[in-house]
Structure formats: structure tokens, C-alpha cells
């Protein structure tokens, strides 16, 4: 209980720093792994981004991306890395809710929950 009792902003800052670094590193590693597969398999194909078609539905949703990754699709694995990257700030905000709660700062728990719900709405949809 002594660790929780003496919770400070400084401790929060340290954990947030580590969290962000770990998230970016993990995302970059997953994207790199997908990149190698993608270039080996599709390196010779023509690249064309002139016309906007939009991504297939499977690469737009968490469930579809996970399914693609399990099946070993290179583009799915890269998209999983992108998803991990987008999740990094979300996890940071979720941790802040917890940290402000430990500091018994009710006002900031509410502020942080508002930000978290905007992020969840954006990522998961209504």
C-alpha cells in the first residue's frame, strides 16, 4: 500500500515515457516484419496510388486485421503494426485515468475519461 500512498506526478511521467517508447518500438517491429514479407511476396508488382479506391473491409477493422494477421497476410501484419501504433496513445490516456485516480484527482479523472471515450469512439465506431 505504501507505493500507492505516495503516488506522484513524477512517477506518472516516468511510466508514461516508458509506455510510449515500448508502444512505438513494438509497432515498428511488427510493421518491419510485415514489410519484409510484403516486399518478398509483392516486390515485383506495380505500385499505383494515383486513384483512390479505399482499403478492403478486412483492413479497416480490428477483427479483420487480426484475422488477416493469423492467416499470415503481409498487408494484414503491417496493418496490425499500424493498429498497435494508434493504440499507444490510447493506452497512455487509459493509464492516466488510473494515475489521476491514485492521486485522488477527481476532476482530472473526468477530463481523462472524456478524452478516452473520444478515442474509443473514433477507433471502434458508434
Amino acid at each position: 500500500m505504501t507505493i500507492w500512498a505516495k503516488w506522484t506526478d513524477q512517477k506518472t511521467e516516468e511510466i508514461i515515457g516508458n509506455l510510449l517508447r515500448a508502444g512505438v518500438l513494438l509497432a515498428a517491429m511488427v510493421v518491419s516484419a510485415g514489410a519484409i514479407l510484403y516486399l518478398v511476396r509483392h516486390g515485383e508488382a506495380p505500385a499505383d496510388y494515383r486513384i483512390f479506391r479505399g482499403e478492403p473491409t478486412d483492413l479497416r477493422h480490428v477483427r479483420g486485421i487480426l484475422k488477416n494477421t493469423r492467416e499470415g497476410h503481409a498487408r494484414g501484419i503491417i496493418q496490425l503494426g499500424v493498429l498497435l501504433l494508434i493504440a499507444t496513445p490510447v493506452v497512455r490516456v487509459a493509464f492516466s485515468v488510473f494515475a489521476f485516480a491514485l492521486e485522488k484527482d477527481r476532476m482530472y479523472v473526468i477530463f481523462t475519461l472524456i478524452v478516452l471515450s473520444v478515442l474509443m469512439y473514433s477507433l471502434l465506431g458508434a
Binding site: 510484403y38 477530463f111 481523462t112 478515442l119 473514433s122
Partner: protein, 278 residues
């Protein structure tokens, strides 16, 4: 062009953008979209999606280092993120309704404004002694370490800063950029937050702001893994390199050169938008 050649060229371009962005403090995001749209003929919507991903990567990477130094004001960041994330959501929805040429024109105007801001030296805001009641109630006042001990500061004009932040978030969601320039403007000009605190706190907020619009972009199919991959890895490597060199480099003339490049890209984007070539 084959996927392999395209990937390598885009990665190299993103590396240079990330490197110069970190070195000049202007961020790489602002040149990424014009680079992709003009040089690589990528549709502006794919370009914006890929740029957003890169912006999250660089801002989170840099924030990790800054937060530990003790300059970042986490409460100011959290409070203003309410405004930037709502703005970003709004911008992302607007982006799906605005035709590509109009997006290019808005982008061009923002580039010109960023070039103007970075070429001019910022007047130092006067030190403020008395606390602002609203900022005190919101616990926004803070302190940071200096060689001569801890310096305390008071935050001012909270509503103006909050409003500007909503605008910064909207631009970020609309154009896939960090909007660091507008964020710093809101914090050091309107809210009178010391420069070092406002730049690091702005960086801290950029990742969350970009994540709010990236979710919408992902669900709308604007984020292509084949394009996002070289952009994200290139910019990340470039900005890590840039922050390493930053300590030794003389950045004033470089900043000016980068500002000119941004201005030229801005004019080009406006021209492409007006002539419907985008």
C-alpha cells in the same frame, strides 16, 4: 514503378522529411503529404492517412524522451486534449466530405502559414506574476527545472487557448498533420506558457490528437499498409537521427531553407488544387 522501388524511394523521402523536421523543430508531417501527392502522385487521401500514422510515431517517440525531463505539463496536456481530440474527430469527418482539390488548397494555405511562422522570430511573452483564477481551479499552473532551480509559471487565458486547440485538432484531422505550429501558438501566445514547456507539451498532445482522427481514417479505408509502412519507418528513423544531431547543428539557416521549401510546396499545392490536377 514496382512496389520494391516505390517503397524504397518513399522510405528515403520520408527519412529526409523526418530528419529535417526534427532538426528544425517544424515536424516532418507538414512536408509528407505534399511530397507524396506531388512527387509520388499518390492520391491526397492515402497521403493524409499515411502521414497521420507517421505523426503518431514521431510524436510518441519524442514525447517519451521529453516527459522524463520534466518540462511537459501533463495536466495542461490532458485538459487541452479534450479540445484537440474533439477537433480531430470533427476534422476527420470533414475530410470525407471535402473534395480532394479543396483539401489541397487548404493544405497549401496551412503550409504558407507554417513557413511564415517559422521564418519570423517570436517575441518573448512578458513574465506574468499573478495567477489566473480559472487556470488555478483547473490546476494548470506548473513548474520546470532550470540551471538556477525550479521556475514556476502561471497559465492565462484558458478559454482562448482551448478554442485555438479545437482549431488545431480540426486541422490535424483534416490534413493529417501534427499542427504543432498552431498548438505552440495557442500555448505560448494565448496561454503564456514558457516556450520549452509549450513545445514539449504540444508534442505530448500530438500523438493523442492524431490517434483520434487515425481511427476514423482506418475505418474509412484511407490507411493503406503498403504506403503507411515506408512512410512510418522512414520518418521514425529520420527523426531519431535528427534529434541525435540536433545538439551540435547550427539550425537557424537550415530552418530558413526548410521554410522556403515549405512555402514552395504550399504554392504548388494551391496551384494543383485550383487547376484540379490532384
Amino acid at each position: 514503378m514496382s512496389v520494391l522501388v516505390f517503397t524504397l524511394l518513399v522510405a528515403a523521402g520520408s527519412l529526409v522529411a523526418g530528419f529535417l523536421g526534427a532538426l528544425t523543430g517544424l515536424g516532418g508531417g507538414v512536408v509528407l503529404v505534399p511530397l507524396l501527392a506531388i512527387l509520388f502522385k499518390v492520391d491526397i487521401r492515402y497521403a493524409i492517412g499515411a502521414s497521420l500514422v507517421a505523426v503518431i510515431a514521431t510524436s510518441s517517440g519524442a514525447a517519451a524522451a521529453y516527459v522524463k525531463e520534466g518540462f511537459t505539463n501533463i495536466r495542461v496536456g490532458m485538459f487541452l486534449e479534450i479540445a484537440t481530440t474533439l477537433g480531430a474527430l470533427c476534422g476527420a469527418f470533414l475530410a470525407t466530405r471535402i473534395p480532394a482539390p479543396a483539401l489541397a488548397i487548404v493544405f497549401g494555405l496551412v503550409l504558407l502559414y507554417s513557413a511564415y511562422l517559422s521564418s519570423r522570430t517570436r517575441p518573448l511573452p512578458p513574465a506574468n506574476e499573478e495567477p489566473d483564477p480559472l487556470a488555478t481551479r483547473l490546476k494548470l499552473n506548473g513548474s520546470f527545472p532550470t540551471p538556477n532551480g525550479v521556475r514556476h509559471y502561471f497559465v492565462r487565458r484558458v478559454p482562448a487557448g482551448f478554442g485555438l486547440m479545437f482549431g488545431a485538432g480540426t486541422l490535424s484531422g483534416l490534413l493529417g498533420i501534427g499542427s504543432g505550429a498552431v498548438k505552440v501558438l495557442a500555448m505560448d501566445q494565448a496561454m503564456r506558457i514558457p516556450f520549452k514547456v509549450s513545445t514539449t507539451t504540444s508534442n505530448f498532445m500530438i500523438g493523442v490528437t492524431a490517434a483520434a482522427s487515425a481511427g476514423v481514417y482506418l475505418r474509412r479505408g484511407y490507411i493503406d499498409p503498403g504506403l503507411a509502412m515506408p512512410v512510418m519507418l522512414g520518418v521514425l528513423a529520420g527523426s531519431l537521427l535528427g534529434t541525435r544531431v540536433l545538439v551540435k547543428a547550427q539550425t537557424r539557416s537550415l530552418r530558413l531553407v526548410f521554410a522556403v521549401v515549405i512555402a514552395i510546396l504550399g504554392v504548388e499545392m494551391i496551384y494543383k488544387g485550383l487547376s484540379g490536377k490532384i
